[in-house]
């Protein structure tokens, strides 16, 4: 920041929305997560015969009332075909978050001070796949005029802004599996430096399609050993883990400048108190030895929050259930916490919903904030036999009530990008 004379403004969370493999709606999803339920299952929506990985976490169909997705309840039929599923899921989560926040700007100035920053790791891959088939058949003229706006990542933000008339910063983040945390952290900074008063921020992903599965299969990133027992497939830190399970969904927060939220009497869930980023400069997909990039991101977030490791009671890990990444992250967290490691809990909610890629950091922000609200650490399912012992309690199998006031959440992405965010109980 050039020549900033005043202290950064404080940013709080006043609304949350979620669509994930455990269903729709924050209360419904959280209840299922704390009960140790899994949203992973055999893929039914397309033929997986030729794929090594045959399981995933998909947003369940159903009705709003029972926590399932019926798109017609959220988006007019004629508009559905104008957007890839990743945009549809973002609209669902954003609608819940905005309604939850109660923020509906009524004058032009307020609309111009409300922005959107929803990112995605991959965007409209299935839409691109379908257009490619038409071209390979020589049917270039059959490409829909909605193909490009359906596939573009920033159209998630675009559609949310159009729905609500939010005319502030309209931005989007693309940093693979770190997208969700980057979107929330960057949006909070826009508020902190006075570019906006309110930001609708988060991540969305819908790559559970043949092309997405085939691509991650080729990279040998997905679990293939649990095709017959899908709910066992995502098992962070467990010795039986063999890759991540892909999930789809979206998480959205309404971020708001503290005084703005107070002035309108908004319910404040938590404060965004710290944010840190780093790059590995090492390898396109593998984390560096000791995951020192993760270490630096976490340390930067702590410095930003002016906190010590001892201030953190719960870490929501990146913990994707890959053989290499899980233990390296654990090592980096142990190094950061030192002697405090025995006092902190760390779990991976990916054990219940799989890895939501660009949406992961955003849905995990929702879980982190709920962990503060309810003083409970959500469980790491399937952690039956850790591949490595640790002083850190990884909340195996069952949720734990703990005195949680401050949470650190990690997300790391291909390309060697790392981001950590810290939420604390609102004073």
């Amino acid at each position: 920041m050039f020549g900033r004379m005043t202290a950064p403004r404080r940013v709080v969370v006043t609304g949350m929305g979620i669509a994930c493999p455990l269903g729709l709606g924050v209360p419904h999803v959280w209840k299922r997560m704390l009960a140790g339920e899994s949203g992973i299952g055999a893929i039914q929506s397309f033929d997986t015969t030729n794929l090594a990985a045959k399981i995933a976490g998909q947003v369940p169909n159903g009705t709003k009332a029972d926590g399932g997705l019926d798109l017609n309840e959220w988006i007019p039929t004629k508009d559905q075909k104008k957007m890839d599923r990743f945009i549809q899921l973002a609209l669902v989560a954003a609608t819940e978050a905005v309604e939850d926040s109660g923020w509906m700007p009524e004058d032009e100035e307020s609309r111009c001070r409300t922005g959107v920053m929803i990112g995605s790791g991959i965007g409209g891959l299935p839409t691109i796949f379908e257009a490619s088939i038409l071209i390979s058949q020589g049917k270039q003229r059959r490409i829909s005029p909605f193909f490009i706006p359906s596939a573009l990542i920033n159209l998630a933000s675009g559609h949310v802004s159009i729905r609500y008339g939010f005319k502030g910063p309209n931005h989007s983040v693309v940093t693979a599996c770190a997208t969700g945390v980057h979107a929330i952290g960057d949006a909070a900074r826009l508020i902190a430096v006075n570019d906006a008063d309110v930001m609708v921020a988060g991540g969305t992903e819908a790559a559970v399609a043949e092309i997405g599965m085939a691509g991650f299969c080729a990279a040998r990133a997905l679990s293939t050993a649990y095709n017959d027992d899908p709910t066992k497939g995502s098992r962070p830190w467990d010795e039986g883990r063999d890759g991540f399970v892909m999930g789809e969904g979206a998480g959205v927060l309404v971020l708001e400048e503290l005084e703005h939220a107070k002035a309108r009497g908004a319910h404040i869930y938590a404060e965004v108190i710290g944010y840190g980023m780093s790059g590995d400069a090492y390898h396109i997909t593998a984390p560096a030895d000791g995951h020192e990039g993760a270490f630096r991101a976490m340390r930067a977030a702590l410095e930003d929050a002016r906190m010590q490791p001892s201030d953190i009671q719960y870490v929501n890990a990146h913990g994707t259930s890959t053989p290499l990444g899980d233990d390296l992250e654990l090592e980096a967290v142990e190094r950061l916490f030192g002697d405090e490691a025995r006092n902190v809990a760390m779990s991976s909610t990916k054990s219940a919903i799989g890895h939501l890629l660009g949406a992961a950091g955003a849905v995990e922000a929702v879980f982190s904030i709920l962990a503060i609200r309810d003083r409970v650490a959500p469980p790491t399912l399937n952690l039956e036999k850790p591949s490595r012992e640790s002083a850190i309690d990884r909340v195996a199998l069952h949720a734990q009530e703990r005195p949680i006031d401050v949470v650190l959440s990690n997300s790391f992405g291909f390309g060697g990008t790392n981001a950590s965010v810290i939420f604390c109980r609102a004073a």
Partner: protein, 78 residues
């Protein structure tokens, strides 16, 4: 109403998500039925598919009402 007219109106109702009663012969896609320029491109593609005809771009630009579409298609199929 001719078969063509009926089919055209059905396609318009489906693609623009409008009430059937609003799709009168004189209705303009943009002014009366809430379409934008991308919707009209997609509508023309739907007509091409449904009637197995080709509508060149310069002709497509002149199809702005339900009647324009019906007239073009009937001429093309004659």
């Amino acid at each position: 109403m001719s078969d063509t007219a009926e089919k055209v109106k059905k396609i318009v109702v489906e693609h623009l998500g409008v009430e059937e009663s609003k799709v009168t012969t004189d209705a303009s896609f943009i002014d009366d039925l809430g379409a934008d320029s991308l919707d009209t491109v997609e509508l023309v593609m739907a007509f091409e598919e449904a009637f197995a005809i080709e509508i060149p771009d310069d002709a497509a630009e002149k199809i702005t009402t339900v009647k324009d579409a019906i007239d073009f298609i009937e001429k093309a199929k004659a």
